[in-house]
Every structure is written in C-alpha cells, then in structure tokens.
C-alpha cells in the first residue's frame, strides 16, 4: 500500500471513530490535520461534517488519493474518545508508526465496556438522583430506581432490534411515564411528576445540545444545525411519549389515577 494512502486511511479511520463516538467537528478536523502533518503529508484537505468525512492528500502528485466516509450517529462513548486522544498525542510526538497506530486503534475498539448490570444499576441510581434533585422525596427515589433500570433495558433491547431512534425515544419515555403512573395507582409514592422527570433524564438530549452549541461556537454551522435538530427532535419524541401514556392512563383509569 502506498504510504500516502496508508496514512490517509489511518487518519480517516481515526476521524470516523471520533465522530461516531460523539466528538465535536472542530476537534475531529483538527486531529486529522495533526495526524497528516505528523506523518509528513505536505498537501491535504480535510472537511468534516457531523455525518461524514471528506479528505484528500497530495492531489497534485502521482500518489494522490482521496476518501469519503459516511458516519451514522452512534452511541456516545467517552472512553474511546479519550483513548483516541491519547493515541493522537503519541502520533504527533512521533513515537508511533502508521502500522503501530493502526494496531492501537483496533485495540481502542476492543476495550471492554462497562458490564450490563453496572450500566443498568447506574441508570437506576442516576434516575433516582435526578428525581431527588428535582424535588422528589425518598420514596419517590426508591421507586425511580427500578423504573430507570427497566427503561434502560427496554432502550437497549429496542436499539438492538434496530428500531428507529425517534420511535425508541417515544416508546421509552411512554413506558417510563406509564410505569410511574402505575406506581401512583398503588398509592406508594406521591409525586408522579418527579418520578417521570427522573426517569426521562437519561433520554434527554443533553449531549446533542452541548455538541451543537460547541459546533456553532467553532463556526461549524451546518453540523451545529444537524445536532440541534437532533436534540429538538429527541425532546419532541420524549414529549410525545409522555403525552401518549398520560392519555392512556386517563382513558383506562377513568379519572381514578390523577397525573
């Protein structure tokens, strides 16, 4: 494989991994440029969007090559972003050949994620924490733990079934609100609103919103707009889900359960 091609492939793959795991545009573009510079590619152009990477190197010479990657939205994985950051740092301080870098990139992908039970537990505890912060009492928090866990399990299941993101959000927020109102029906807890807020916090598009702001701040208006629309749509889906379940409860409960 020609050197230029090898380096460009490596750079684009690193960029793809960053985008997929939730890095912002400016940082991805900057990383690509730094890698290409570190490997002494003299002439190159890089253009990154929230869903794609366009890159070319040495266009004027005989080993010219260019690459396009389509990058769908993925799950945010901050651990990978951090380890790629470290990898880039090593590449730029020139202690890492392209072949070695590729090997380390593959290792980054393989890094063991947190076990499922821990993720579920954290989801439950986190939801309970937010339920408390937004004014729930201790009973409300205790009730929120299983609701948050079940909701996460449902979310993971739907994602694995490749259900569309909007539908997943609608179903998850609807089920969270439904479970909360069922608990209210039993008379155990008192603040359905706080429980629902705690439970929908994990669906809230905080990451899309923050990334969008940072893209706008760095002048990447197109990607910022894409992330902003993503955030607004997610918020809308959560709203729709909550509405649906309130509707259902009203209809079935016949006014017995008040939300």
């Amino acid at each position: 494989m020609a050197y230029t091609r090898e380096v460009l492939t490596l750079a684009v793959e690193i960029g793809e991994m960053m985008l997929r795991n939730g890095a912002e545009i400016y940082r991805t573009e900057d990383t690509l440029k730094r890698i290409l510079e570190a490997y002494q590619i003299e002439q190159f152009d890089v253009y990154v969007l929230s869903n794609g990477i366009f890159a070319s190197a040495n266009e004027g010479s005989s080993d010219a090559c260019s690459m396009v990657r389509q990058v769908p939205f993925g799950d945010v994985n901050l651990g990978r972003i951090a380890s790629i950051n470290q990898l880039t740092r090593d590449i730029c301080s020139e202690v890492c050949s392209p072949a070695q870098a590729r090997k380390r990139l593959e290792e980054c992908v393989k890094e063991t994620p947190y076990p499922l039970w821990l993720i579920l537990l954290c989801c439950g505890l986190g939801s309970a924490g937010f339920c408390y912060l937004f004014g729930g009492n201790l009973t409300d928090c205790l009730v929120t733990v299983p609701i948050g866990m079940l909701e996460r399990a449902l979310l993971l299941f739907l994602t694995r079934q490749k259900t569309s993101k909007s539908l997943t959000n609608v179903i998850c927020s609807a089920s969270a609100a439904l479970m909360s109102s069922l608990v209210i029906g039993t008379g155990l807890a008192l603040h359905p609103d706080k429980i629902i807020i705690g439970a929908i916090m994990q669906l809230f598009p905080g990451i899309a919103l923050t990334t969008s702001i940072r893209d706008f701040y760095n002048g990447d208006y197109l990607s910022g707009t894409i992330h902003l629309i993503d955030a607004l749509l997610t918020a809308l889906c959560i709203s729709v889900g909550v509405c649906l379940s309130i509707l259902l409860i009203r209809y079935l409960g016949g006014g017995v359960i008040r939300l």
């Binding site: 890095a23 912002e24 994985n77 901050l78 912060l133 994990q202 809230f204 923050t210 990334t211 702001i213």
Partner: protein
C-alpha cells in the same frame, strides 16, 4: 441541605458518566463538574437569582472546571463537559411543558415553555462564556502540576 444535594448531584453525574462509557479513572472528575454545576445553580437560586441567570452562571462555572480538568488530566474537555451538564439541562421544564400542553392549560404552558427555552438559551451562553476564556490561562495549570 444544599450539601446533600451537591453530593447527590455528584453521584448522579457519575452514574450518567458510566452510561456514556467515560473512562474509569475520570469518573470522580466528571462527578465534580456535575456537583459544581449544581452547587452554583442552587446557591444562586436560593439567593434569589432567577433560574435562567443561575443556569448560565452554573454552566459557565462547570465549563471552566471541565476545561481545567481537561488540561490537568490530558483528556478531551468533552469527557467532563458532556457528563457534567446533565444536572443542569431543563428536563423538568420539558416535562411540565408537555404536561400543560396536554391538559390544555395555556397560561402555564406559556410560562413553562418559555422558561425551558430560556434555560436552554442560558446554557448555550454559559458554555460560550466558558469557552471564551483563552486557552493560555489553562496551560498555566499544567506547569503547576
């Protein structure tokens, strides 16, 4: 009271950081950004400052802390910022807006909807202010480390 809430915010932020697969070593730092955000927000609100202004100040404080951690720990600022911001995003506002929209209380809908929008805007400006500080200031932290 505010201390307990800050502690809970610390814990909740760590829990959510796990959901986004933050590196294990960085979890306490993520928790700190979340806790600081909540501390500033709650202290200002209890002091009579409006929710919107408090959100902005808290986000700015949180962003600056995230940038400090990023320099000291040599990690992307994203790791600390994305996880820390969760204690400030207007999740409650979103719920109440939906609720009042649904039951048809237009007055409350306008109040809550506007408030949610304003808080989101305040978070935007908070982050922008936090990033407006020049990176040079943060590099000094490394030398002291």
């Amino acid at each position: 009271m505010i201390l307990i809430e800050t502690l809970i915010s610390f814990g909740a932020t760590i829990c959510f950081a796990v959901l986004f697969s933050a590196p294990k070593k960085e979890l306490p730092f993520c928790g700190c950004t979340g806790a600081l955000g909540w501390l500033v927000y709650e202290a200002l609100v209890q002091d009579g400052v409006s929710k919107v202004l408090a959100s902005m100040a808290a986000t700015a404080a949180l962003t600056i802390l995230a940038r400090c951690f990023a320099v000291i720990r040599q990690n992307p600022v994203t790791v600390y910022l994305l996880t820390g911001i969760f204690s400030l995003v207007p999740g409650a506002g979103l719920y109440y807006t939906t609720y009042y929209l649904f039951i048809g209380d237009r007055y409350q809908l306008a109040v809550k909807g506007l408030e949610t929008f304003e808080i989101a805007g305040a978070i935007v400006f908070g982050i922008i202010f936090g990033f407006a500080l020049p990176q040079r200031l943060f590099h000094r932290l490394r030398r002291g480390d």
